[in-house]
Symmetry: C2
DNA sequence: CTGTTAGCGCTTTCAG
DNA sequence: CTGAAAGCGCTAACAG
């Protein structure tokens, strides 16, 4: 039923290839012919059929975004950056949420084959080698956001530095027993790579070392998903110890918020009895007055999108991996700007 | 370069239609032939080309989701529900974010024509009639989430009831001067329909009336986008009035949070000096201890997705619009469960 | 049960 | 500058 290129050609009294030419901004069309075609297109309300065009051009003008949780504010922020860039580039964006680990396998499996997108952005994890190979074989560029990966272009931040900054700040405030909670990211399989959480811990230990404070493994805990509940649980365990920490550095704001919540429940004054620092600077953080290490989340997404599109256009970019800066944002939760709240 | 159906046919020593048959679970294939084909597929690592299949079947197995802001936790939650359903239904999901009002026009323009998706879910606004007509003409079902719309199937909540519940609760706590802040949603053009904000206000006025309290227009304010900043601004204006309200009902949690923030800055004790109630029950709300009217956000998304897919399958569903229940969630922000926080 | 063939709607040589 | 024709890879009659 829909109007096709043939209808337009007929109406304009030209061949379909001519219509195709004006459609594709090909210059080899006489001005008069062009307007005639344009008029016909307008009159018939013609729009090219995407599938046909895709098949013919053997691409689909869409990039896929694989992310583990749409529930993570961090990942959603990255997604926003991606979306914005892609939209203005005129590309479609289809999202693939992993949620269950098994879906991860089958998804990547299909994705790497079926030409469901001609560029892929993977957020917050590193795909197995075999998938990467397959994508490469089909010339589908892959770029990773939030994880540094040697194998493909990636956009990430200096997590060691972030961990260092956070810990250093706490140290400067006089804390010596500082807990660290990292959210465990269930990697598909030890595909190596720089887990941000581990890197942040590296920075944490580095700062400790500089300050001459011995590293105490008992102060490092791994919580489950980056959720408030898990953060609260971890805080409970950490604070139940004999020599309880006076400060906690959490590898994500969600965890940190959980810590704050637990402390509040326990009647612990923040920051007087417990200082806390998070990571990410999601919107919630500013509301909660949480000191945190800010990552340029949207910007990470934007740059990842920019890189895939360039790769998709066949550009052979050389230095494609980019490390973005982090920044310590000081708020009430660790006392620096302590404000008397609610009396 | 990629392996096609011809390669498989050759390898298996059969015709392409046979391959196609096993691909499409057609039963008219001898078991032995089937396994032979399956083996060839496996051996060659064949996956059907999506574009070709789409062109041939004249559909694309993806549903589009049009949402105004990826920054809105509410909309993201709805998106989650949609994503989950679609994923398990084996459909792709492409998102179209509106952000700028002008993009809205051009987007819908293209969407309604180009067969970029064969089903559409519109979140939190109602498209212009002409777009709806075009979608209908191309047999692309449209369903709306969060807005009640007579013209197409929609999934929404009883906003009047929500507003009533919130206000009633405040009334019961003894408040008589209750402010209402609704976030202004910039509709493409007065396409009519039930704006949730207006409905909530209706419930608000209804509760007031029942309590015999005259409606004071000065107590109703329209803030900009549903952001904390705008909420804070609105609160400032509301509280600057001579007879300042002792309670504020905000049409969204984000606005409510802005109100709380402003109050905190002004040293106003919540809930003693100012009670506040929100709407939505986004994650932030529970952290902030905000009393609010909960909407089943994910469920709205899920049901919207379910409806489009059924419509896409040609089902002639009759009663497709659904109204979901709201629920008042009482927390500290209005005093009912007042907890001594931080001393 | 299975192979042949004609499209699906568009892009792209290749002649003119 | 423009038209004819050959695909792109797959599905779906239509004959066997």
């Amino acid at each position: 039923m829909p109007v096709t290129i043939y209808d337009v050609a007929n109406a304009a009294g030209v061949g379909i290839s001519t219509v195709s030419r004006v459609l594709n901004e090909n210059t080899n069309v006489r001005q008069e012919t062009r307007t005639r075609v344009l008029d016909a297109i307008e009159a018939l309300g013609y729009k090219p059929n995407i599938s046909a065009r895709n098949l013919s051009r053997s691409h689909i003008r869409t990039v896929g975004v694989v992310l583990s949780y749409l529930t993570s504010p961090f990942q959603v922020a990255v997604l926003q950056g991606i979306e914005r860039f892609l939209a203005q580039a005129g590309l479609d964006l289809t999202i693939f949420s992993l949620e269950s680990p098994k879906r991860r396998e089958t998804l990547l499996e299909n994705l790497s084959h079926g030409r469901r997108c001609d560029g892929l952005i993977v957020v917050s994890f590193t795909p197995q080698e075999r998938f990467l190979q397959r994508f490469q074989r089909y010339h589908i560029p892959v770029v990773i956001a939030d994880f540094a990966d040697e194998r493909v272009p990636s956009v990430f931040v200096d997590n060691v530095e972030g961990g260092y900054l956070a810990t250093k700040h706490l140290l400067r405030l006089g804390h010596t027993r500082i807990g660290y909670i990292l959210d465990h990211i269930d990697l598909p399989n030890g595909s190596g790579g720089n887990e941000p959480g581990a890197d942040r811990q590296r920075g944490y230990q580095q700062a400790l070392e500089e300050a001459g404070i011995p590293f105490d493994p008992k102060l490092v805990l791994e919580s489950g998903l980056h959720s408030r509940e898990k953060g609260a649980e971890a805080a409970a365990r950490l604070l139940a110890q004999a020599e309880r920490p006076t400060a906690i550095f959490a590898a994500s704001d969600m965890i940190a918020l959980g810590v704050m919540e637990y402390a509040r429940l326990q009647g612990l004054n923040i920051p007087k009895e417990l200082a806390v620092v998070g990571f990410d600077d999601i919107e919630l953080a500013s509301f909660a007055g949480l000191t945190t290490v800010r990552q340029p989340m949207q910007e990470m997404g934007r740059q990842a999108a920019e890189i895939v599109t360039r790769l998709m256009d066949g550009e052979k970019v050389v230095r494609t991996s980019r490390q973005l800066p982090v920044e310590l944002v000081i708020r009430e939760s660790c006392g620096a700007l302590l404000v008397a709240e609610r009396g």
